[in-house]
């Protein structure tokens, strides 16, 4: 049976009626039509679907939409400033932190949550945190570089 759920998505109130079994990732993509959040493994291993819930990075495939009630959710669509790229996104572009781009929203949301909480995170900490996200293209070096390079924008 469908249930009503209300939460904040990128600063705006949204209301949906969803089956309890719907993941938050699928809710964001299929009900709210924000397809920037990518779904890779659907069981919490790849990190592609990472979003920010009440300021903390979480895997949106490991949260039900009904669990999001009353929470403030930020997805990749909330990161860009108007039409311009955020400093983190610019750093990914500058440092070639992406190739095919499928995993990129997950990396960006993970790095954004980290640098917002820990703007002085060192390389070891950044690598530790990014270990929860899988990228098959870059070999990670350029992603780590991009996150290191973006720190000044959060300090």
């Amino acid at each position: 049976m469908k249930m009503p759920v209300e939460f904040q998505l990128n600063g705006e109130s949204v209301a949906v009626e969803v089956e309890p079994r719907l993941t938050l990732a699928d809710c964001i993509r299929h009900e709210l039509l924000q397809t920037g959040t990518h779904v890779g493994c659907e069981h919490g291993v790849c990190g592609a679907c990472t979003i920010i819930v009440d300021g903390e990075a979480v895997r949106s495939c490991l949260m039900l939409a009904v669990q999001a009630a009353g929470k403030a959710i930020m997805t990749i669509e909330g990161l860009a400033i108007e039409e311009a790229l955020s400093p983190l996104q610019q750093s990914f572009r500058r440092n070639h932190g992406l190739q095919c781009g499928f995993c990129t929203p997950g990396f960006l949301m993970t790095a954004h949550a980290l640098l917002t909480q820990e703007p002085h995170a060192d390389e070891e900490r950044i690598r530790e945190v990014l270990s929860g996200n899988v990228c098959r293209c870059t070999g990670y070096l350029s992603i780590v570089k991009a996150v290191l390079d973006a720190r000044s924008a959060y300090q």
Partner: protein, 290 residues
């Protein structure tokens, strides 16, 4: 995969949560969801109802009592990671977090959830067992205390009744100067361990091992303690020769399964290697032992 169908309830109190679990056969408790939701995504579980206790509040504090450390069942990994007190109050418990899943999962996964899920390769059940924790649960017939040694029954199976909810876990006091180490091996950092070994012991005035505890994860249906190795170590000085004997005995004492991640022989050898590493690391701390 998309999850199977289930109903969803958000009780207003712990009592209501217990009532919902008792009244609905096939109901499952949902807390952080970081173990349950993957099971649902694989359709390995088919609950009729999820009872979500995230909104209840409470059960989310770590506090020190004269008997030891009380950890609420809703305490998340990220809280343990950030709690500076634990570096002295329970360094093993805090250090273990380095091996628990990843950043995003640590923001939602809970201590109680990991215990109730009882994955044989998970760190929290292993640490609860080796530390001799008490697990506090409430159900229709009231509160009871389950010793960690009696809690883990089989893979993903615990002594919890269907209507029981873990509320708290108690760690015995951790004396200052206790020697400890935790080593595990996984192909990718944060993944489930192929095997892991937790070691702690105290040293008497003669620098002899007292009260040795060796816990192993990923090498049986449940976390286990290696009684024979503990016996071997007690009363001895921790020298390299003894560590070698202990490692061989540890490898003999476990009877692991083969699976897609590792063969039984590999796991047995790994337990030996990790035991040696952990004993060496624990013994060398402070550089007091050679």
């Amino acid at each position: 995969m998309k999850m199977p169908q289930f109903d969803y309830a958000r009780p207003a109190s712990l009592e209501e949560a217990v009532r919902l679990l008792a009244a609905n056969e096939g109901a499952k408790l949902l807390s952080g969801g970081q173990s349950l939701l993957p099971l649902l995504a694989f359709r390995m579980a088919h609950p009729t109802l999820l009872v979500d206790i995230e909104g209840l509040g409470g059960m989310d504090e770590i506090s020190l009592t004269p008997e030891g450390l009380r950890v609420g069942a809703r305490v998340r990994w990220c809280q343990i990671e950030k709690d500076d007190r634990l570096a002295t109050l329970h360094p093993l418990f805090q250090f273990m977090i380095n091996h628990v899943a990843h950043y995003q999962i640590r923001n939602r996964g809970t201590v109680g959830g990991s215990l109730a899920h009882a994955d044989p390769a998970a760190e929290m059940p292993g640490v609860a067992l080796v530390c001799g924790c008490d697990i506090i649960v409430v159900g229709s017939s009231g509160m009871r205390v389950i010793k960690a040694a009696h809690f883990f029954v089989a893979a993903l199976e615990t002594a919890l009744q269907p209507d029981e909810i873990i509320t708290e876990i108690h760690f015995p006091t951790w004396p200052r100067g206790r020697r400890w180490a935790f080593h595990e091996f996984a192909r990718r950092k944060g993944d489930f361990a192929m095997a892991g070994v937790a070691v702690f012991f105290d040293l008497n005035d003669e620098k002899r091992v007292v009260d040795a505890h060796i816990g192993v994860i990923g090498a049986a249906d449940t976390p286990i303690r290696l009684g024979a190795v503990e016996q071997l170590l007690n009363g001895q000085r921790l020298e390299e020769e003894l560590i070698g004997v202990a490692a061989r005995l540890a490898a003999q004492e476990v009877d692991p399964n083969s699976d897609i991640h590792a063969t039984a022989d590999y796991r047995r050898a790994l337990v030996g290697t990790l035991t040696a590493r952990a004993l060496r690391n624990a013994g060398l701390r402070d550089g007091e032992l050679k």
